[in-house]
């Protein structure tokens, strides 16, 4: 069985600096693999048997060029990494991303494609579903468990009020939620082995994709107006500090002392 697990490299939001005009400065922000994509890679690793292969696939701009990030993806277990990399591909829409991923997946060949439910930066929550629809394959979101069953997969879906179990014939496309597993940290052995695994790089032209007229345009991005906080650190020695804390709690909650 061939599994493709799609992942996105995103800006680390903890590093974003907010300017006085509330615009975002990401110039010095680090990058990381989006959290739910790590769940997807882990799900692939847990599903794969000895004879199965796992390919990681990502679409993006210059972030994909960083060898440290490429190795990070490979250190999680996939046997190979496929990248569709181009300057024009850094901030494309969910649908454009899905079209490119669908073309790449067909080129690579697969029985199962796994996605994280949504990415840390935009959380559009749709790319996996769009890819499934473009490829006209059985596709679901909210996947919290996957079991192989012959030429199908048994999928547990954790919905808002209920849990359902579905049998989907392969090939299929699944978007997993973060409660499906806890991604294991790469071992030193895996990190060292990552550098030796194959990396295939395409640009969008190689796949025969070209951008269409943009149907959504970003007008502005502004940091959320955080509520003003007092930021008072109670620095007295413990028993006094706790006393002050209790006092504040009683006051704010109208508790009878």
């Amino acid at each position: 069985m061939k599994i493709i697990t799609c992942c996105k490299l995103v800006v680390d939001e903890q590093d974003i600096v907010i300017r006085p005009d509330r615009s975002l400065d990401i110039a010095h922000a680090g990058a990381k693999i989006s959290q739910m994509d790590l769940n997807a890679i882990e799900a692939a690793m847990q599903l794969a048997r000895e004879q199965d292969s796992i390919a990681a696939l990502s679409v993006g701009g210059c972030l994909l060029g960083h060898s440290k990030l490429r190795k990070d993806i490979l250190s999680r277990g996939p046997h190979a990494l496929y990248l569709v990399q181009g300057d024009k591909l850094a901030d494309i829409s969910s649908k454009d991303t899905a079209q490119i991923l669908a073309l790449a997946a067909k080129r690579i060949g697969f029985d199962l494609i796994l996605f994280g439910e949504g990415s840390d930066d935009i959380y559009a929550q749709q790319v996996g579903l769009l890819v499934g629809e473009i490829l006209q394959l059985p596709t679901v979101n909210a996947v919290s468990d996957i079991t192989l069953d012959g030429d199908s997969v048994l999928v547990k879906r954790t919905l808002d009020d209920e849990i359902e179990v579905l049998r989907l014939p392969l090939p299929a496309v699944l978007s997993v939620t973060s409660d499906i597993n806890v991604p294991t940290l790469p071992t030193m052995k895996a990190i060292l082995a990552a550098g030796k695994k194959p990396v295939v790089v395409w640009n969008e032209g190689d796949l025969g994709w070209s951008p269409s007229v943009a149907d959504i345009e970003t007008i502005s991005i502004r940091a959320l107006n955080q509520a003003e906080r007092k930021q008072i650190l109670i620095e007295s020695a413990l028993p006094d500090a706790v006393g002050m804390l209790a006092e504040q709690l009683r006051k704010s909650l109208n508790l009878v002392s």
């Binding site: 959320l224 930021q231 413990l238």
Partner: protein, 316 residues
């Protein structure tokens, strides 16, 4: 003027229609509602669609995702210049919305935190970077799809413009290329916790090292009449608490008087969930923890010393 010619709406959940109808009334000239089994969606809200299209729920086997082709056909028959489809943010509604995004070649915005017309242009806002920022987007397409979280539009500010629906029409089922068929299904255990309504909430994070420590937190919660919530690693990694207690951008958003964060570092995705708390207090042993920039009061120290002391002080 400045309205979209046609707004469509659907949800797998009857109770989500009220908001969708209000939004449609504000945004569109004509309102078309798609419902399951002729469901009466107007209820007590007083808001109506012009036309109601009814789907036979047995056809889909209770999986609304199977209706995408049927809905796309109905929408394509509509003579709109500009249009919009609104759904709620349930997982199923989002899955259906994504299928329709391809079938209708329409951009999809999930969890829009605002949607409005400005000078004849449809604008949508969505959260970015785990809730750190809001992105404002302009829709250029003729038809767009958006899923709306609850509470975005309420009936208090808008008067309905229609007194009743004109007609109800059945929709013929067009089977999807792959039907979703359930093997089994069961309800999730009913949780009666209503974190979003609690006056005081204690949040626990990775600073807690053992599940047994929850007893100590429970004692503190009793003193304060507080509910207990947590950060994501506690709900999904350790699973010490159910996912309904996860506070953050993809969990519960609090509106409490006091939020007391114990052993929580202060990641953006979590802190977005407590932005509306009136007072935020944190206990953390790391003085450089990001949370201290987002609190009103903080104590740097060991929670295993502070919490028992706090319980004693509150009880005396």
């Amino acid at each position: 003027m400045g309205k979209l010619s046609s707004v469509w709406l659907f949800s797998e959940k009857k109770e989500r229609y009220a908001q969708l109808l209000i939004a449609a009334d504000i945004l569109g000239e004509t309102i078309n509602a798609i419902v399951l089994d002729g469901e009466d969606i107007s209820g007590s809200s007083g808001f109506y669609a012009d036309t109601v299209y009814s789907l036979d729920d047995r056809s889909s086997g209770r999986c609304v995702e199977n209706y995408a082709e049927t809905m796309a056909a109905a929408i394509k028959k509509d003579n709109y210049a500009t249009g919009l489809l609104l759904l709620s943010t349930t997982k199923r509604d989002k899955a259906l919305a994504a299928r329709l995004s391809i079938l209708l070649n329409a951009p999809l915005i999930n969890e829009a935190v605002d949607i409005r017309m400005e000078h004849g242009v449809l604008l949508v806002e969505q959260r970015l970077h785990g809730g750190l920022a809001i992105g404002l987007k302009k829709i250029h397409a003729e038809f767009a799809i958006a899923t709306l979280p609850p509470g975005l539009f309420t009936a208090t500010t808008v008067e309905p413009t229609r007194k009743a629906s004109c007609q109800t029409l059945p929709l013929d089922y067009l089977p999807p290329h792959h039907s979703i068929i359930r093997q089994e299904h069961y309800s999730k255990p009913v949780n009666s916790v209503e974190l979003a309504k609690a006056k005081c909430v204690i949040g626990i994070g990775r600073g807690l090292t053992a599940q047994d420590d929850l007893q100590m937190i429970q004692s503190l919660a009793s003193c304060l009449n507080a509910e207990i919530g947590c950060s994501r690693p506690i709900a999904e990694g350790e699973r010490w608490l159910g996912r309904e207690r996860y506070i953050g951008i993809s969990g519960v958003m609090l509106k409490c008087e006091v939020y007391l964060a114990i052993g929580i570092s202060g990641q953006i995705q979590h802190m977005v969930g407590v932005n509306s708390a009136k007072v935020i207090i944190a206990i953390n042993k790391d003085k450089n923890a990001p949370i201290f920039k987002l609190t009103d009061y903080g104590i740097v120290g060991d929670l295993y010393t502070i919490v028992p002391m706090l319980i004693d002080t509150l009880k005396s």
